[in-house]
Symmetry: C2
Subunit: 553 residues, 2 copies
């Protein structure tokens, strides 16, 4: 008999508790006095599994264990009350309550429970492959070659892919993707990123030493924010973010106990950023915090707006003037749909504004393998480029990155292909460019289709989807529905989206998850499903919305 069990038995016996017989499965014995003396009471023995092998609990034994669990439980150490309050307060709508509900509904469908629909459409998250987009062949060839270098001898792989794979592997310890890399990332990939940035920005120089390979852009953004946040009370760091925003920002700010400072994008003007609004926001914020950081998402998420050159200059001048650290989230730089819109990186515009700006504004810019034409979310590939960081701060940055050792190396390899794709003359070029253009043209078509179809729905208005991969239409929710939402203790647009999910199987994220002006409601839907499916989706949303308006008229 286990020695602790023996001690408990003796303790129980000495207190006059009923002592069960020898081993085997006895019914549970609860002896409060045993607990009081600090020894565990002699509870029922769980079936002893065989030392080796695959003995499984019988369902009876499992049920018995569950009952024991309920009976034997004492107060837990880790509870909602005792946990980290910052984590408790944190929210991330993109995978929040509506998505949990969608998961439950999917389970029910699998069990055969009848619904008004046969599948849940997950239009909540910017995940292109999940919606049927194919990976770029060349990218996967290079990563496969790096993964299993025997393939370097295979005639089925093109030479240009092999060349890149060899270069990456040479940068890896032991020529293996399985080695840790230096914490800022593999050097030759940082160099390739720098070259990419220079080409993209028409020759504006980029220093590989200012480039850090990260676990998706999220890792870079949260790392920089972490270093920036300090102070307490009214000196607590304020971080300016767009409303609506991608809720990584609010989550990170919440997590760091920093202060979220909202500036509103202008819905009447295609979600443009107005510097006067930045000024308004900053002025008010100074009363209760120390605003130090200005976050820009361009192209925008969820709004998709693409900043024009003048707007970016105005923002840079504002940041320069007000001494704000600039974060430029540019993960959708390859996703520009509207003619007349063009992506200009913050770095490039900053350079063109001359040395007083270029040598002083502290800037961190972010990119990722998750969006664009690649859609490689699962690889968690990304980079950040910093500018004008104090050298000692760069040392602190590397130190902080070193605790997680390095970004996943297969993701670093994927990022390398993104910044070092096939060029004209190379064997893989024509297939590559065909695949890339197909994805981007398709997205642009769906952007227009979605905008048009939403705008045909009475009680909905959708700004042009200038870029990114989302529609963020405004939805007019009747007062009766707002009242009923209150009864259910939900935000009105959450109530709307829950009903939409329950009646159509379409999962989108309510605007309250991203932020919006008081009294306005929106939803974010991705445009990633194939065009035919998207049309059906939009038709269903139209039908739902009309019914909803009628019901709550």
């Amino acid at each position: 008999m286990h020695r602790f069990v023996l001690a408990a038995k003796q303790a129980a016996a000495s207190l006059g508790c009923r002592s069960p017989g020898g081993g085997g499965n006895n019914t549970a014995l609860r002896c409060a006095t045993s607990l009081a003396v600090g020894r565990p009471p002699r509870g029922p023995r769980l079936p002893r599994p065989a030392r080796e092998g695959t003995v499984r609990w019988s369902s009876a034994a499992k049920a018995s264990a569950v009952k024991i669990n309920e009976k034997a439980s004492r107060e837990k150490i880790l509870t909602l009350e005792s946990m980290n309050p910052l984590v408790k307060a944190l929210e991330y709508a993109v995978r929040g309550p509506i998505v949990l509900k969608a998961g439950e509904i999917e389970k029910e469908l699998r069990k055969g429970i009848k619904k008004p629909f046969t599948e849940v459409i997950k239009a909540n998250i910017g995940d292109a492959h999940a919606m049927g987009q194919r990976p770029i062949t060349f990218l996967r060839q290079v990563v496969a070659l790096c993964t299993y270098p025997n393939l370097l001898d295979s005639p089925s792989f093109p030479e240009d892919a092999k060349k890149r794979a060899r270069r990456i592997l040479q940068g890896c310890g032991g020529n293996s993707l399985g080695s840790y890399t230096a914490s800022p990332g593999i050097n030759c990939i940082r160099e390739d990123v720098a070259s990419y940035i220079e080409r993209r920005d028409g020759g504006v120089p980029a220093d590989p030493d200012n480039i850090y390979l990260t676990t998706g852009a999220s890792d870079g953004i949260t790392t920089i924010l972490k270093i920036l946040v300090s102070g307490g009370g009214k000196s607590r760091t304020g971080v300016m973010i767009p409303i609506p925003q991608y809720p990584l920002y609010s989550a990170a700010i919440s997590d760091l106990d920093a202060v979220q400072v909202n500036y509103y994008l202008d819905e009447e003007n295609c979600w443009a950023l107005d510097v006067n609004e930045l000024r308004r926001s900053l002025k008010e914020a100074k009363a209760y915090c120390n605003p130090k950081v200005l976050c820009i998402i361009n192209p925008g998420n969820p709004t998709g707006q693409v900043q024009n050159r003048k707007c970016t200059e105005d923002v840079i001048h504002f940041a320069w003037e007000e001494k704000l650290f600039l974060l430029a989230d540019e993960v959708y730089q390859d996703n520009v749909h509207s003619e007349g819109c063009q992506f200009h990186s913050f770095k490039k515009i900053l350079y063109e504004m001359g040395p007083e700006y270029y040598n002083n504004v502290e800037l961190a810019s972010f990119h990722s393998t998750s969006k664009g034409y690649m859609g490689e979310c699962g690889y968690r590939g990304g980079y950040m480029e910093v500018l004008n960081l104090h050298p000692e701060i760069k040392g602190q940055l590397v130190k902080l990155l070193s605790v997680r050792l390095c970004a996943p190396v297969s993701g670093q390899a994927a990022m390398d292909v993104v910044v070092n794709p096939p060029i004209p003359g190379e064997e893989s070029y024509s297939q590559f460019i065909k695949e890339k253009e197909s994805v981007l043209n398709n997205l642009a078509k769906k952007a227009k289709l979605t905008e048009d179809m939403f705008n045909k729905i009475p009680g909905m208005h959708c700004n042009p989807l200038q870029g990114a991969m989302y529609a963020f239409p405004r939805i007019f929710i009747p007062s009766k529905a707002i009242e009923e939402a209150k009864v259910h203790k939900m935000a009105p647009d959450m109530f709307y989206c829950m009903k939409l999910l329950e009646e159509t199987g379409i999962c989108v994220v309510p605007g309250s998850g991203f932020g919006q002006r008081e009294g306005s409601y929106h939803l974010r839907m991705t445009i990633l499903p194939p065009a035919e499916k998207l049309k059906i989706l939009l038709e269903k949303m139209k039908d739902f919305h009309i019914k909803f308006l009628e019901k709550y008229a």
Copy 2:
């Protein structure tokens, strides 16, 4: 002329500052009054790059820009003073100052600077592939098949690898490694992890719902610690960690502003854990914090000790009695070298202690693809298994994990192969088992070799390397050397290791990076270099140590 530059020019002119002529490269104009009115002075124009193409700065222009940078700089927003003090305080010795120094020396070697050695040996980090260990063929085959599914049609890949790849891909959105997965990880992989745990633990049941796939074990450990830490002042959460420890723990505790509570492992007793020392540590800690968490590393890092069954039972009883949340870091579970030592998971021992323990003790156990026989550090694959977490806490955990979306999917795939390897009868089994045993036997041999060779060095003592992949010998440092270290403002063992690095090229981590009893000094060296190289290394260390003792006699 750029409109901001024009405004600045006008401002400068109105203040009577010398106004340079039109465009082109003018020498820098510093006008303090211009700065005072808040407009950037008209500085020299940087060469305007071509709109498209690969225009590069001439070296003269670059030099000019650097000078401008020095002249035009103003006080930065992000400095050592303004940054997050928690980040500033954070340390991670495994990639700390000694490794930075090693990197500098490598640069010098590449430049052709003569040294007493031709290469730097990075024996500081547990990175097997970097030291020449080969990946497990089967693992890389499965991951390559998942990466580039065209290979599923290739005759060069065995059917058992293809079967696993298909299963993994079916669990991925769009059958692609590029999709985000559910935040806890791909379901079928969580199931495979649960099956692995059950087999490993002789049938003790594991619930896939209690399993989370993480970005290396580090991600799981820091996530759980983050949720656990709360309170302020004397109620601040205390986290008990072994001394010596793997400095992820101290870094995470520092980062969370939690309280580090040290318990000392017993060097006289092969680094064993003594529950009396746990009691001593806890009792003292209650005076200044709220100790809530007990971290165990088994097999140990850096010490390599493998806990025996009784020790683990004692620890579990202590945690149960004192209401401590148990973290069991078991990433070296496949690395047990000493005969007479065996790995017993905390989960298994907990189960065998009966329901009062098994249904109550809150436990999180961690594993990884980085160590063992796999050495797949770069994939950042890992999992944690939780037990007896409050259901609402599990919801909070998933919420926190969702902000980073998911662990890298190629790492999840690698983890799947680790828990679902070839079995007898499968085509790949014999090669797999050969490779696995070769790695593990080799490590065990090197463990013994290293222990023996260190113990032959006068002034060194090395406990048996029962497990893991490090030697942590005690080094006796003469008082004269301790004095000189003080002069250099270094810990004595850092001083020793720096000298070792400078004179032999061998990079190891001083014991002060892991913690040690006051007045004792150690260093941590990996046993990963190939046996022949390891012998040479150890000979060099012997020569160095003898010279060191003589020099500072």
